[in-house]
Amino acid sequence: MKRVWIALAILASILAATLCHSVYLGHFTRDLTALLETAEAEAEAGNWDSALDLTQTARDKWDARDSYLHITLRHDVTDGIYTGFREVAELLHCQEQGEYSAANARLIAGLELLSEAEQLTLQNVL
């Protein structure tokens, strides 16, 4: 009977950890997306410095969780987001409105897809 409890405990721990991970990732990416959308609005208003600060804040938040994200997500996905942040930052420095908007939209979409792929939905299961 001891083995059954050990097996159930392991399964319950895995379930809890994976559910916590998907919930956390949902909040985390929503937070970053909100910052990037605000940054875009600032850039459209001509406040490039403010847009750069907001993007940098999002980038810092991403970097602060770098190890966790690298351990739990596919490395090509995390590398893609990292590249996206650098691209957006460079376009903000150059103040290229059109290209910045496109790159920012790609980055936001990448973050949203990252979170969606980890959610427990029938779509993802199938």
Binding site: V4, A7, I10, I14, T18, R74, H75
Partner: protein, 226 residues
């Protein structure tokens, strides 16, 4: 490359733990659920071992999940006969009183060639001498010949051979297993006497020394040790 080394060691240890949990069965004797586990675990471990783009945890979580589910299933199969039959199937009688059960053979996709091969491996060439041939749930064929076809045992011949009991290893490749020595109720003095009687001074010169319940000693000198 060092990542490959570390990942391989981690996954290898995890698989060893899994195989250990499956018990002492050999691959050919695995039940269906155990076979599935072995196949999937091998594949799950191989992917993150080679592809560094996949997090190690995405290999570990499925392996741990499979091991836990297997543990649960094995406990359920122990507790419930019905569940065991559902999961592992039931043994099928292929030959009964020398007669082939063709429907049962077809149901198990067991060919006549396979049956003949299994019988030959058990030293049987004539199906009519088989009382029962049963295809077990692990895929092995148990063959029970007619009583008059079985080799006679000592009891059948009215003999009463001496029971030697289980021999215990006292010296294994030059190493004295003191726990086994004590289990048999001997001490180092007894062992020294045994060594002297075989013309040996040290245990390091002995390859194998066993003693059974009738105090019979088997001695094998270590080659090249002088």
């Amino acid at each position: 490359m060092v990542i490959a080394l570390v990942r391989t060691i981690i996954l290898y240890l995890l698989i060893i733990a899994g195989v250990r949990l499956m018990g002492k069965r050999q691959v050919g004797e695995l039940e269906p659920s155990e076979l599935v586990l072995a196949l999937i675990i091998a594949d799950l471990a191989a992917v993150p071992m080679q592809d560094f783009g996949i997090p190690l945890i995405s290999g570990i979580i499925p392996i741990l999940t499979l091991l836990s589910v297997t543990m649960l299933i094995s406990m359920l199969t122990m507790k419930s006969v019905r569940f065991r039959a559902l999961l592992c199937g039931r043994p099928s009688i292929i030959v009964e009183n020398g007669k082939l059960h063709q429907r049962e053979m077809a149901k198990n996709r067991f060919t006549i060639d396979e049956l003949m091969e299994e019988l030959r491996m058990k030293g049987i060439t004539d199906i009519s001498t088989v009382k029962y041939a049963i295809l077990e749930t692990n895929g092995q064929l148990s063959v029970l010949p007619y009583a008059n076809q079985k080799p006679p045992a000592a009891k059948d011949m009215g003999l009463a051979p001496e029971e030697g009991g289980l021999p215990i290893v006292i010296i294994n490749d030059g190493r004295v297993l003191e726990h086994n020595l004590k289990t048999r109720g001997y001490d180092m003095n007894w062992l020294e006497k045994q060594l002297q009687s075989h013309g040996v001074k040290k245990a390091q010169e002995v390859y194998l020394l066993t003693v059974d319940e009738m105090d019979r000693v088997y001695f094998s000198h270590k080659e090249g040790a002088q």
